[in-house]
Symmetry: C2
């Protein structure tokens, strides 16, 4: 055991300092910290920046993290932000919000008070340590985000005559059939080459338990299977009717349905329990950062040119609302978090290599549609509390709110979250028609849509003026060619944002990229 | 489609009324309500009770539901409750609460403000429609209860040298190995008899997707498996170190570990997502009922005799704190929710058959230990937000709070929840030593226990004076022999409670049994 006065973390720090990172990694394994996160806790920027100044372009999470950390250690920081508020893609739409997209479509969100959608990021994996640590330090309250709901649906227009199936039915039956098939083979000697006798016995035991097989290792209607998939008539009290087991779906129907393709969602490292969300909307994170760095931020700034020489960086910009007179800002250094989709349209003085990176990163398209309904029929009629229904219709999913269960008023669903081709298809329509499309698709799963729809809002990310796309979409080839240049400090300019990371589209990627950029920039400043 | 003015529920009610329950069940299937809950929404007690009076024995959920519903339709109701407050097993322990168990051990709970444990029920399945509907009607706020946490542990003293394993490692590796084995057999023709050619192709596709197999249908270290089990070095931002996949545990180690026995928890119908809990403690449900029926309740009542004749029921009782003079209460009818473990010790005038039922129902033993720690180290050090760690040590589990994530103060874990033999073992010790035992076991999983422990509280249900056990433990044989008598109205007395249900130990069982009992009682009253 460790001496009680020394925490495991203390010990690791000590080992790291005394014996280097390899020894520390060994020790982490021994102590059960085998997994190494790139986030090592609050960044330490030792050494005096000697009054150096930094211009941060973009007041999204990457920009605000840079501003927050750099200003804390003595940098003179100014943030230039295109919009009238900070946050970037960390954004929530609420009743009263207006949003004008590229092309001029204007929408007013008409949700009831307290209801919202997050057009951008909407859930936080438990291992996104940087996001979570900032939430903690800045006092952003968190609650569970329900990713998988066994009572939500899996739906395919090509399976079960288009009738949605409860997740629990597909899941229990898939597991059950797989367990039964493998049990049979095991007992018939089909694994004698691959698995030792001793392991075979245990494997059978495991398959029976995990797959809800009966005493003959069969997956059939009965108590075992119904205790996974649910009963046709559920157990009751007093002298209510006796419980009646339900009938599993056959193996062939399950495999041919293709619905199994959604079964692994909740097993994916990025979507496993426990996922989290800020109480009240994702932009609570943006607001928390804004409380810290809002005073350093100039809003409604449209950058028109980024210039640099050996001494400094000069930004030319105009008022994003009114245009007019060009203004300039100058600093020793620049953290540029402008998405490459936008930056490629701004005159920027960087090396040829960096410019090639900027010009060659395609951005993913995405659309989200939020739908307000007159009542929470998914809870009232269908007992769906949070979670996600998956469909092969172009809306791809319906996500139910993970909060305010049973609230008596209206409710908002995420009625579509579509990428690429489907996103373009949606966005080719005016917002009202996008909403109609989402309703049409959703009504195939929830017929209540027709009676209960109230109003909606639709955000197509490739039409969002300040991003012109949803996230940097690196291919393996593009990474090889451009990532090093994109992530290297070019003269006096360092890029940051989700696109300068190995976790594009995630807030964690944006924050880690920012921490890495300011860490390297600071090194240069203090050693310069 | 349905005519828009008619909800599916309206339609079902109409079909039920016009064509009977069989037709309604058919229609439910057609309309996607295939599953029938014994709870049909708020109970309708039509007809005039003509001033009939009812004594309700026990102010737990069953008793309060009876009092609430009967008083609403005109019955004169009085509840007699043993304790100084209502709720029964629906109970939360908070700082300042005192609790004296049978035998005299007294405990004062010393948790910080806002922290609690639920010694009794602690989670609500989404299909416990009666509980949830009462929560809705009575304004009890709900939040998600995290049952499965992929970052919590599975632990066996006999496996991996006693080192706890992350749930995600065991789960991903079990699925991966099962998928790989079955894929191999499928490709080698081992399923040619059992599965059609067409289905085999699809099955392979499904196994690859579900099991995270690589392009050769192998489950090996790499991106696919690490996207389930996590990476040794996680992806980062900027120029942070590159991600490094993790090494799966071998098939033999997984099956021999026995840890797979906990993998199905989250697939069980009773523990599937989305589970819920009241915000602030389970007794928020009790408090909500008490607001409705507290004025009908006489507290600190120890029933000493239950008598009845053709006309009425007479209860003899004394003050539960001071004893003293015997008092009586009389009514036309009685709903008795006293657990049989206690009722068997009270002189009760019922038929021989009912008496046999009362005397022959064993009660399950259970213990829970709540532990307050100086900080939420499970979140800070180990990134565990809610959920449950399972162990084969006698404490059986450690449950992490599903709420107030990141709260900076102290935190409370459920440090033991043990049944039967282990519960007796715990309870044979004085409370302080039970807590020490829970600490000793838990420290094998969380070494931080030693430094961070603050205080604790331990409730052994077989020593709780007002229940003398945790729940009615029906065997199949006992049910056959005694359940009908136990659930039949005996003269003027109807039994209710979780023990008069097919879902013992659940609040839903208690409520359904109460609704069934008062429904039948009311029938008798109005037709009498």
């Amino acid at each position: 055991m460790l001496p009680p006065q020394l925490s495991r973390r203390d010990l690791l720090t000590m080992i790291g300092a005394l014996a280097g990172s390899e020894a520390m990694y060994q020790a982490m394994t021994t102590l059960g910290f085998a997994q190494e996160s790139p986030y090592k806790g609050p960044i330490k920027l030792d050494g005096d920046p000697k009054g150096a100044s930094v211009l941060v372009l973009g007041g999204g999470l990457a920009g605000m993290v840079a501003a927050y950390e750099l200003s804390k250690v003595g940098y003179k920081v100014q943030v230039l932000e295109y919009r009238e508020k900070a946050g970037g893609r960390c954004w929530s739409l609420r009743g009263g919000d207006n949003y004008t997209e590229l092309g001029g479509f204007e929408q007013e969100c008409k949700f009831d008070e307290g209801l919202y959608i997050n057009p951008g990021p909407w859930r936080i994996p438990y291992h996104h340590h940087a996001v979570l640590d900032y939430c903690k330090r800045l006092g952003v309250k968190l609650e569970a985000f329900v990713q998988v709901n066994h009572n939500a649906y899996l739906h395919s227009v090509k399976a079960f005559e288009g009738k949605p199936q409860r997740y629990r039915h597909v899941s229990a039956d898939f597991n059950g059939h797989v367990a039964e098939l493998l049990s049979k083979v095991t007992k018939q000697g089909g694994l004698d080459q691959a698995v030792s006798t001793e392991d075979r016995e245990k494997l059978l035991e495991a398959l029976q338990s995990w797959g809800a097989l009966d005493e003959n290792y069969a997956y059939v209607a009965g108590t075992h299977s119904s205790e996974r998939r649910g009963f046709d008539i559920e157990p009751g009290g007093g002298q209510m009717p006796l419980a009646k087991p339900s009938q599993p779906i056959g193996l062939s129907d399950i495999v041919q349905s293709g619905l199994w393709s959604s079964l692994s969602t909740g097993s994916l490292y990025d979507f496993q329990t426990t996922m989290l969300q800020p109480v009240g909307g994702m932009d609570m994170i943006a607001r928390a950062f804004e409380r810290e760095v809002g005073s350093l931020t100039k809003y409604n700034v449209k950058v028109t040119e980024i210039d640099q020489d050996d001494e400094s960086v000069t930004i030319r910009y105009e008022d994003a609302r009114k245009g007019g007179e060009a203004q300039t800002a100058t600093a020793d250094w620049c953290i540029c978090t402008v998405p490459f989709s936008v930056l490629s349209q701004i005159k920027t003085k960087v090396s040829t290599k960096t410019k090639a990176a900027i010009d060659n990163l395609p951005y993913g398209a995405a659309i989200k549609v939020g739908l307000q309904f007159k009542r929470r029929f998914w809870e009232e009629d269908e007992h769906i509390y949070g979670g996600i229904t998956y469909t092969d219709l172009p809306n791809t999913l319906i996500s139910y709110p993970s909060t305010d269960y049973h609230s008596p008023g209206k409710g908002v669903l995420l009625g579509a979250f579509s990428l690429e081709a489907w996103a373009y298809e949606f966005t080719s329509l005016p917002p009202e028609e996008r909403i109609q499309k989402a309703l049409e698709y959703g009504a195939q799963i929830h017929p209540q849509y027709k009676d209960e729809f109230d109003n909606g809002v639709a955000v197509g990310w490739h039409r969002v003026p300040w991003t012109l796309g949803c996230y940097g979409e690196w291919t393996e080839e593009k990474r090889k060619e451009h990532y090093h240049a994109a992530s290297s400090i070019d003269g006096r300019i360092a890029m940051a944002g989700e696109h300068i990371s190995y976790m594009p589209a995630w807030m964690e990627g944006a924050i880690l990229s920012s921490l890495d950029a300011i860490g390297r920039l600071h090194q240069r400043v203090v050693s310069g």
